[in-house]
Symmetry: C2
Subunit: 83 residues, 2 copies
């Protein structure tokens, strides 16, 4: 499982749309607060690996492409731990 | 926007994984409780229209394919209204 504390240092590009607490800054961005870490990892990897088109994919894919599996696990753990 | 009350009658196939309140019944299923309705619509349509692969897409795509835009708006409104 990821390390939420490490994740807090890796959300620099995420906060613009998802905020620091996971509440989306616009209705088209999903709220991540307390979301399942397993699901978040699965989604971020799907974007990273080009398995998602449509919706926000054009925006999210480049964001995810710079992330390692460990980064993704940490970021997922961080947002999942938010309340 | 969708009609949450109408949506409550349309979540028959959704509850097996997402529950009636939106809390995923397994870690791999996303929590939908209070999620942005705009985002939920965008996601369900992406599954319906085959724009999402990987993750749960193989499971979600057939679920979404039977839904009209109005069904999707109502279901999104329903889960978004859950607390």
């Amino acid at each position: 499982a990821g390390d939420a504390a490490a994740g807090e240092d890796k959300i620099g590009t995420c906060v613009a749309c998802h905020g620091t607490d996971g509440q989306g800054l616009a209705p088209i961005y999903p709220n991540l607060t307390g979301q399942s870490a397993t699901y978040l990892e699965s989604s971020i990897k799907a974007y990273r690996d080009g398995q998602r088109k449509g919706g926000n994919a054009a925006l999210m894919t480049p964001m995810a492409q710079g992330l390692s599996d460990e980064d993704i696990a940490d970021i997922a753990a961080y947002y999942s731990s938010q309340e």
